[in-house]
Amino acid sequence: MVVGDISTGTEVLIIGAGPGGYVAAIRAAQHGLDTTLVEKDAYGGTCLNHGCIPSKAFITASSLAHEAGHAEEMGIHASPAVDMSQLRNWKDGVVDQLTGGVEKLCKANGVNLIEGTARFKDDGAVRIEHGGEGQGSETVEFEHCIVATGSRPIQIPGFEFADDPVWSSRDALATESVPDRLVVVGAGYIGMELSTTFAKLGADVTVVEMLDDVLPGYEDDVARVVRKRAESLGIDFHFGEGASGWSPDGDDVVVETETEDGETSTYRADKVLVAVGRSPVTDTLDIENAGLEATENGFLETDDRMRTSVEHIYAVGDVVADSPMLAHVGSKEGIVAAEHVAGEPVAYDAQAVPAAVFTDPEIGTVGMTEAEAEEAGFTPVVGTMPFNASGRAMTTGHTDGFARIVADEESGFVLGGQIVGPEASELVAELAFAVEMGATLEDVAGTIHTHPTLAEAVMEAAENAQGQAIHTLNR
């Protein structure tokens, strides 16, 4: 036995303190369960330290500087300069405050915190190695365990994040200077958010994407609004090309790409950011010791109580199979798992899983698209309100995009919606609530919306679906 190895027990052990794990821990403790949370790195996980939060901080600052520098039409003359190292300090301050807050909240709710890396010994205990040499380890026995170990960025052959000019999203969010030229591999939401940010900060950005448009998975007309704006920010897109490798040339990086037909191109830059997706962290946990088996891609399958095939071991967050890799999904799953352990009548039965992309403009979507509604057997009726007909949008100077609502024609039930435009990430909240409530078009259209707000567009979209919009022509 290693020196310092002690053995303790806990009702619920949670592995990983990201938005899946720490939320599960707090809720479990709120239900009076003896709860232990183990984290090897930093409270808040990817989301607070290297994901949602730092990226949004960069986006705010770069957008403010860019907007102020491009508002001559409104009579504003400014030539903002951005001090990247100060921006990074500010961002780090925000992150520190939030991660410190998570730690405090866990303690205040009575969660036992352990710093270290957990591995399963069997289906009733983990061995936790404390960080650093000679820090020892301990064994914790559990009645229930919640696996919330999250995900890491995928590396593609030829691009090692260990190499200095090759950036993961985490490296990009830790930079102290804006590269003059940046090649971004991958036009998914992380690639697009960061491309937009660096373009606004003054970088020459080139995006290489294997598929044929930005934001695969989003409808064409939604993606188009974001691509057009990105192009007007000077971002150069190359679709249908996969990155095959890179080589240094003096201080430059030369990125090589290849089309399906084998045609190659090269792009010269200072840094290359690889953002092609994330894979779950289940390979460093010795899950087989607990009788667990991951899917081919490393995910854990669960039922709608977030239980894995081993009943008293739950999984939440990015490690869960067939569940969107989003912070708020992880948190919801964490709540379900914790409350189920506590004996509450819960299930992950969300009808509405909203998602946002913080590009310019933003995207907010929830529930079904028109095509998905049709596929599910509904006869969809759709209503749209373009933001260029919105008084509020006009007064903000941001009129690109639209709000769309998808409903079932016969019953009027709201099935989903897609918003691309200013504050889309916030506006989708009402639509998500409508879908979750089983609300109808009439419920949305019949609710008074404050004037002048962007949220009126949601109401107008519902009226448009009913054939009685005021501020757009009905079809």
């Binding site: 399958e301 669960t302 039922d303 709608d304 109580r305 239980r307 894995t308 095939s309 009943e311 869960v320 067939d322 569940s323 969107p324 999904v329 189920h340 506590a342 004996g343 509450e344 009548p345 819960v346 299930a347 992950y348 039965d349 969300a350 009808q351 509405a352 899983v353 529930g367 079904m368 998905e372 596929e375 599910a376 057997g377 509904f378 079932d408 016969e410 019953s411 009027g412 039930f413 099935l415 989903g416 879908v435 979750e436 409530m437 089983g438 609300a439 109808t440 009439e442 419920d443 259209a445 019949g446 609710t447």
Partner: protein, 105 residues
């Protein structure tokens, strides 16, 4: 409805689990058949309990058709503070726009 989707609010769905009512089999009295709290309570007192927490794991798909309801079963029940039916009868109309219009018609 298509895909067996149930239209009911989160609190009504939770109540159904708590009472062990299979919400998919409840016929809703709200607008377009939305299942309400009283529908679930009526189904419960009607005795058609579908006390069906098969404790075994079940694989569910969250993607694409994420809006499709997963079968509502009972959980390992414990009473939670549920919305009271009486309160709905207060002076205020605590009913949605579509419900009220239905009433007016």
């Amino acid at each position: 409805t298509p895909s067996g989707r149930v239209f009911a609010s989160p609190s009504v769905r939770r109540l159904a689990r708590e009472l062990g009512v299979d919400i998919a089999s409840v016929s809703g009295s709200g607008p377009s058949g939305r299942v309400t709290e009283s529908d679930v309570r009526a189904a419960d007192s009607g005795g058609d309990d579908a006390d069906a927490d098969d404790d075994g794991p079940r694989n569910v798909s969250f993607s694409g058709n994420s809006a499709v309801s997963k079968s509502g079963d009972a959980g390992n029940g414990k009473t939670a503070g549920a919305a009271s039916a009486e309160a709905a009868g207060r002076a205020r109309t605590l009913a949605a726009p579509a419900t009220r219009r239905l009433a007016d018609e």
